[in-house]
């Protein structure tokens, strides 16, 4: 799908301290995949600039965020599997 050095999978809400840590430690060009409560980042409008952002569609739909998911690339579980294999490295925050 894309060239990604490190894929960061974030399932914490934006208020969780680990969400900040994830943002701090991402390199420009890394990928960010939002899952679980992590998709709430879409609602805050504070997506990182320098990165490709993906969001797991069933989690986005559960939280009623389908209409603003356009700021990120929506992926299903099959695409999530592909992303984890294409990235050189995966970190689950």
């Amino acid at each position: 799908m894309t060239d990604i050095q490190t894929l960061h999978i974030l399932n914490k809400s934006p208020e969780h301290p680990r969400a900040n840590r994830c943002m701090e430690m991402m390199a420009a060009g890394d990928g960010l995949l939002l899952t679980g409560s992590g998709v709430l980042l879409l609602a805050t409008g504070q997506l990182p600039d320098a990165s490709k952002v993906f969001a797991l569609a069933p989690d986005v739909d559960a939280r009623g965020l389908g209409h603003i998911a356009g700021n990120a690339i929506s992926v299903d579980f099959t695409e999530m599997v592909t992303l984890t294999l294409e990235a050189q490295k995966v970190i689950s925050w």
């Binding site: 969780h16 899952t35 679980g36 409560s37 989690d59």
Partner: protein, 138 residues
């Protein structure tokens, strides 16, 4: 990477069902990986994740029974599901061997889960293309 290359995954689940979404997300991922022709080498339950291997959960009938769904998936695809022994003993998850060893009144480990040490995680990590972690969110 070619479309047909088969890769292997080790999945580590550290969040409990009915407390976190970790086992749910992990199952969605595992099913998609298997459907795409990849192999799940093993699933390792760690920390609070060991509760997924309980034989005694009885959620309301209109809610998904995550331990049952996971057990069926593991059995259907002959995937090894391992609960970390140190996490399991502290949290009250035991098979018959541990029941006898610690003289406990019952065993509650759901088939086909097994109990073993962190070495299973280390081995999975070495052998698999990717090791992914499914933690509790919030």
């Amino acid at each position: 990477m070619s479309e047909t290359a088969s890769e292997t995954f080790t999945l580590v689940i550290t969040g409990a069902p009915y407390s976190s979404q970790a086992p749910e997300t992990a199952l969605g991922f595992a099913q998609a990986a298997v459907n795409a022709g990849h192999r799940i080498d093993r699933v390792f339950l760690y920390g609070d994740g060991v509760h997924l291997a309980s034989a005694l959960c009885a959620p309301p009938s209109d809610e998904t029974h995550w331990p049952e769904e996971w057990s069926r998936f593991l059995a259907d695809h002959s995937i090894s599901g391992v609960a970390c022994i140190a996490s399991a003993l502290r949290r009250g998850l035991v098979d018959e061997t541990e029941q006898k060893r610690y003289e406990l009144p019952a065993a509650n480990l759901r088939h086909p889960f097994e109990i073993a040490g962190l070495g299973e995680w280390v081995e999975g990590r070495i052998k698999s293309t990717r090791t992914l972690y499914f933690h509790a969110g919030d």
